[in-house]
Each structure stands twice: as structure tokens, then as C-alpha cells.
Symmetry: C2
Subunit: 198 residues, 2 copies
């Protein structure tokens, strides 16, 4: 589930919310899964991974990560991303382009304290995406954290990322392949609306 | 469905095929959906979109596209991609890194001739991702093509892309969040196997 904290009244957000509600009704599994594609300037390579989109607060999209992870390094080297949602139950793809930035330490602390402590043990114990000897050593580190760490205290290396899209594309697949592609692009503070060929 | 034409005997392909079979058994919708993330050198931006993965032929992954589309321009400017599969029924993500190149004209012609002619009318009539006035004009162009064009003849601007991954990451989600992340990286002609922290 994505938690909508306020709903922006801007045009693309209305389309987004309508599609989200349709997707929710269809019992879409992992409805909060969103692919974040980033570019690493250092490695001159593009990367992508799914994360859980937690909040849409007015027009701000928020997910959480380890701040030492490869994606965080990508964001530091190049702060433009593309975000991609695909709800397969209703055959809809939503593409967004945005700049990305960290949420504040206060926001991270407050949110961390509300989370399931088991999740927090993992956030504390894992050096996300670092090479490790075995899956068993992951489990060991996690159990040690569960026992020994203050699980309400957000570590400095964990927190949110937020982005406000300046471009939306809503793609609706049709059996005929005459897929509908509708776009919204922010130009001088208003949303320019258009269609793309399928 | 993805069509396996031969199955590579290399280690990561065995893992891939096992997960594919599990996913297939779970009745995964749109099992062939694969996200291709690319980098546009001209616009200095990363992009991503889902396409249909049609074939895995030995160790080569193949999908089709309009060759004048934005993604084709991205591939021309920067030929490294990341490809991402997410099978939500079994909560598995597969990440691959590769260089990408066009398939041959002969291959494209032969495949095009086997396709449903209705699909071909769309491939011929659509300037993929170009801005257009309305969804109705898409339908009009398509109908004109259905009536007037030779639907067995592959146009020059349509064909396949193929990539052979040099990196695989298999991510299996667990309720505990102790997700299992297994990697295979091609080093001097052999696959180096490892694990990543979740």
C-alpha cells in the first residue's frame, strides 16, 4: 500500500490516484513496488531496482534506503532519476522523471520510531548491497542487532528519499496493442498535456 | 511468455530458468515484462520502460522495438543497459547488466513475417513515442495501415535488440525482510558467485 498523506489537486495526480484506486480494487500484489532508475557518473552506467514507495505527500514521492547503498551513491553523483510503476493486474505503466533528494533527519527519526522493530533491526544491521560471505552471515548479523541494538533509534546511514516529478507518462496497455499513452510535462508552472504514439 | 530457444548451461541461466518455471506455475501475469533502463548521453538523463522479452536464445535476451524510438536513441548514445524483471507472484527480482545491440535485418524480417498482422500494422503505422494530437489519430493511422500496407514486410525502422548479461542479481523477498540476494558476475570467462547484504 502507498500512504497518501494529502492529495495534490494537480492534473497528473488526479490520473495517478484514479489508476491507483483501480489497481487497488483489482487486488494488485505489491502495489507499492516502484522501479528507480539512476545513473552512476563514476561507473558511467545506468542502474535500476525496485523499492517500496511509502508515501505520496501532496506532490512528493517518498521511499527509504540505506544512505551508503549503491543507489545513494548514484543519486549523489547524478540526482536525476526515472521512476517506473507497473501494475500488471490492470496493465498500466506510470513513468515519472524527477530530481531526487534526501528527506530531513527529523523526518527520518520520526518515521523510524513508528516502524516494526524487526524491520529496524535489519535497517541497522545491514550494509545494504555490500558483498557478504553467505546468506547465513546476514541472518547472524540480524539476530545480533535484534538482541543488542536500540531499535527505536534511526542510524545516520538510513533515511528517506523524496522526489517531485516534472514529467508523467501514463501508459495503458490494450490487447490490440493500440496502447494509450498520455503525458503531463511541467512547463513554467503549468502541466502541458499530450499523447504519444504507441 | 518468454520463448526459450536453447537454454544456456551456465550457472546464472540455471537459476533464471528455475525461477521462471516457479513464476510460470504461479500464473504470473505478464511474465515477459522486463524493464530496460538506459542512459541518454544527449539529454544527460536516465530513462526506463517495460518491454516484452520475447526470446532467450542460449544466453541472448531479445526484445523488439521501433528503431527511431527514444530508447533506440539512448542505446546508440550509450550502449550499456540494466534490465530488471519483477515477478510479484513469487516476489522475485532479477537484475542484469549488459551491452545492447540490434539483431540482424534477416532475423527481423523472418520474425516479422510470423507475427500477427494486426500487430504488424501497428509496428508499421506508429512513430513510437512521437507526440500526437489525440488517441483517435493513433487509431486512424492504424486502420489506414491495416487496409493499405503489406503487413508481412518488416519496415527498416523496426526490429530486435539483443543483450548478453555480464552480471546477474537474483533477489528473493522474504516477509522478514531478510531478503536473499545472490549475484553472478562474469570475470575472465567464468561466473564469480556471491551474496549481497539485503
Amino acid at each position: 500500500m502507498i500512504e497518501f498523506k494529502n492529495i495534490s489537486k494537480q492534473a497528473p495526480y488526479k490520473v495517478f490516484v484514479n489508476l491507483y484506486n483501480r489497481s487497488l480494487k483489482s487486488n494488485q500484489k505489491n502495489i507499492e513496488a516502484i522501479c528507480i532508475a539512476s545513473y552512476s557518473l563514476n561507473n558511467n552506467e545506468v542502474n535500476a531496482r525496485f523499492v517500496n514507495l511509502k508515501f505520496i505527500n501532496n506532490n512528493e514521492f517518498i521511499f527509504f534506503s540505506n544512505y551508503n547503498s549503491p543507489k545513494s551513491k548514484d543519486f549523489t553523483s547524478h540526482n536525476k532519476i526515472t521512476a517506473l510503476i507497473y501494475w500488471n493486474n490492470i496493465n498500466v505503466q506510470i513513468r515519472m522523471k524527477a530530481s531526487i533528494k534526501k528527506t530531513t533527519k527529523d523526518f527520518n527519526n520520526a518515521y523510524f520510531a513508528t516502524r516494526d522493530f524487526k524491520k529496524n533491526a535489519l535497517a541497522i544491521s545491514s550494509n545494504q548491497s555490500q558483498v557478504i560471505k553467505s546468506y547465513e552471515s546476514v541472518q547472524k548479523k540480524y539476530k545480533r542487532s535484534l538482541k543488542n541494538d536500540d531499535l527505536s533509534k534511526c542510524p545516520d546511514y538510513w533515511g528517506g528519499y523524496s522526489f517531485i516529478p516534472f514529467y508523467f507518462e501514463f501508459w495503458e496497455g490494450h490487447d490490440s496493442r493500440l496502447n494509450k499513452r498520455e503525458t503531463f510535462e511541467l512547463c513554467d508552472n503549468h502541466w502541458k498535456h499530450g499523447f504519444l504514439e504507441p
